[in-house]
Symmetry: C2
């Protein structure tokens, strides 16, 4: 089934509950008094709400062993709270044009396994992609001695224009058709809730949960791979745009009547810096007598030529860098972020994420007199995106569990133990 | 004194109180049961918090006269809540390069008077501007038989890079110097709290409180006057950028190495569409033998020439429109807004805000398959900005009052009646 997206349909009533659970996630093992300080709530409220979270099986008490062995506490050992790791097993998957990456995670966010399946998706129908995803998930589970029935939910990220709240994929390079009800297809393919989102949003979640965005209230994540993506975290929450398909940094125009983008328009940032854009110009810089190269090999060769000082290859990266810096400066002018994370795996780190591009970005950023944003480069691959998908799944599942009545008030036949769904 | 900006330093504890007050503001005269529905809080919480708000003098009970006369209610007349208009008298001021507009408002947001003083500010020091603002405020008060001591606080908007939370003006066309501690200067010039902000942010507040943004959770406001401004409302709150100087739409780059902007950089949107940008090219379109024209007269003449079909004048507006549409499309790609409001007073409504520009904007916006944002044009002048400034002042004052201990818990000598500050 498709779930309404976390946080969108909530009143204020359950806000404190969600805030406390989020604080425990952020702080790790933590005492009630620290939760009260972090959230600004009274000790009584924290005690009452954490009791509810423990009863729901989302949080558990642990003895503060460090304090005990250090002899810090006298009398009764200090009790801390943490997210209960074995409350649920969740999955996260990243769908790319040529492979699927699946990760398995406990409810606290510890990864137990990840698994990659290579396949060419573009010839497949959305239904076939859903079936492939199911097989990849089952394979990952099998490798750890488990089956689909052990999984509580799955988060799925894919490139393109994805409306998370409605489970719709308006456009994706993975599909030939537009407006695919992919969330509904996945709901039919799996026996548990599935949440989908744009993959760059999941990169932002991954940075927030596991990367450089931990504990940071507001930051931007920019990724360049086969396309250009952006994730926006505002006040500790993913901002998807008012109507759910914002943050489309790759399709911000950096040149009027510019290069043709795979979205069909001209002058998009993506049309200058994404893999396919570099590949379009690569033949000019590569040996015309050489063998035809597969995309990845051609990119590697282009990169090597630029590294070796080939002026044509350098010109390709130079232009991409100038366009990228212009787009980045516009983001900085609009969001005034304290932190920008470049997240991804490929060689563009050396050119697009280099000092020169950052210098150009600063030159196009509002000269207020204050220091610019901090920029961090985080080099990691598809595993990151899959972990972000698992974080999405944990968020969605949490929201679902918190919407159920508290254990004491459960209607007959509607037990609220973690296992019941 | 400079106040920390509303909402920035708050824990969750007072969130419900602020949410209820905001709901009463949004709904107007409203019953407790409707507040509970609007906020998702329990009836008990609403009753307890509204009692506190009444005790603080911010909210008052009124009898539902409509229901009584219509015979809807039986027995006891239904009691509604509303913001208490005479809780405070607040002021709002907009500082432009050539005039100051002051408005006076009761605490419910009803305007009692507004007043305009023409003067040329650019030759004045920030201290002199503060003194002029004080005189303009006193003049407005005097016209309604009141004095500075009757005012509870003042909101002030001015163009430029304004860091509202710290009261700093990093750059403004109104000042020759950079990094002006204007908030501190105003705090010294007035005997009550003064809040300052970028003027476009105040246009957004004005739309939210009094204009087309009423009751709309998320929208963008774009203004073009002497410069280009943008205000962003997300989830009913003004978004100023993570570090307080975001939303700088006017300095988003629309052309690499493009026209020179008054901020010192090249290719800013403002350098194509703002008054000074149009004036730069206007002489080419106007009668070379004619008398030299003042800026406003030259703009009027340029507009008249375009209206009459002069190709040079049309070319100036055409380019401005194309640049504007490109910048707008980028905003739409990033924020995916449901509503964009063009707010301001001048003739650009006919060209820059016309059907052709909107068509070009759509052509540069992500083709998701969904309908684009709704666009509304709101033609009003400096009074709007001053009203937004008054709204800022009401917000800031409210935050200040809510931070005080509730009436019953007030320390000796710290009465919490509205009059005590």
């Amino acid at each position: 089934m498709i779930e309404p997206f976390p946080g969108q349909v909530q009143g204020l009533r359950s806000q404190n509950r969600r805030a406390i659970l989020a604080a425990i996630r952020r702080l790790g093992r933590t005492a009630r008094v620290d939760i009260a300080r972090e959230t600004g709530m009274s000790a009584a409220t924290v005690t009452s709400i954490t009791a509810d979270l423990v009863a729901r099986g989302l949080v558990e008490e642990v003895v503060d062993e460090e304090a005990r062995t250090a002899g810090v506490t006298r009398g009764r050992p200090r009790v801390l709270l943490r997210i209960r790791p074995d409350a649920y097993l969740v999955g996260g998957a990243k769908i790319s044009e040529d492979h699927i990456t699946v990760t398995l995670m406990d409810f606290e966010g510890n990864e137990s396994h990840h698994h990659v399946v290579e396949l060419r998706l573009l010839d497949k129908s959305p239904e076939e992609v859903a079936a492939h995803l199911r097989r990849a998930t089952e394979a990952a589970l099998k490798l750890t001695g488990r089956a689909l029935g052990d999984l509580a939910c799955l988060g799925v990220g894919l490139p393109g224009f994805v409306e998370a709240a409605r489970g719709r994929v308006w456009w994706s390079p993975c599909f030939r058709m537009r407006d695919v009800p992919f969330g509904a297809l996945l709901a039919a393919a799996f026996p548990f809730p599935v949440f989908i989102d744009n993959d760059a949003n999941l990169a932002a979640l991954a940075e927030q949960w596991f990367g450089y965005g931990q504990g940071v209230a507001d930051f931007l994540v920019v990724t360049i791979e086969q396309g250009v993506g952006m994730g926006i975290v505002l006040d500790h929450r993913l901002f998807r745009g008012t109507r759910g398909i914002g943050a489309e940094f790759g399709h911000v125009k950096v040149e009027r009547d510019g290069a043709l983008c795979r979205c069909g328009q001209r002058g998009c940032l993506e049309a200058y810096v994404a893999d396919y854009a570099l590949l379009r110009e690569a033949p000019m810089a590569l040996d015309p007598g050489g063998p035809p190269l597969a995309p990845r090999a051609a990119l590697d060769a282009l990169f090597a030529a630029a590294k070796a000082g080939d002026p044509t290859a350098l010109s390709i990266f130079d232009r991409a860098g100038r366009m990228f810096s212009l787009g980045l400066a516009n983001l900085v002018n609009i969001f005034d972020p304290a932190l920008v994370i470049f997240s991804g795996e490929q060689m563009r780190f050396d050119f697009l994420y280099g000092a020169r591009v950052l210098e150009q970005m600063r030159g196009n950023t509002l000269a207020t007199g204050r220091p610019g944003p901090r920029v961090r480069v985080h080099k990691w691959g598809d595993r990151l995106w899959a972990m972000g998908a698992a974080a999405l799944a944990i968020d969605g599942l949490t929201e679902r569990v918190l919407r159920e009545p508290p254990p004491g008030e459960a209607a007959e036949g509607q037990g609220s133990s973690p296992a019941s769904r």
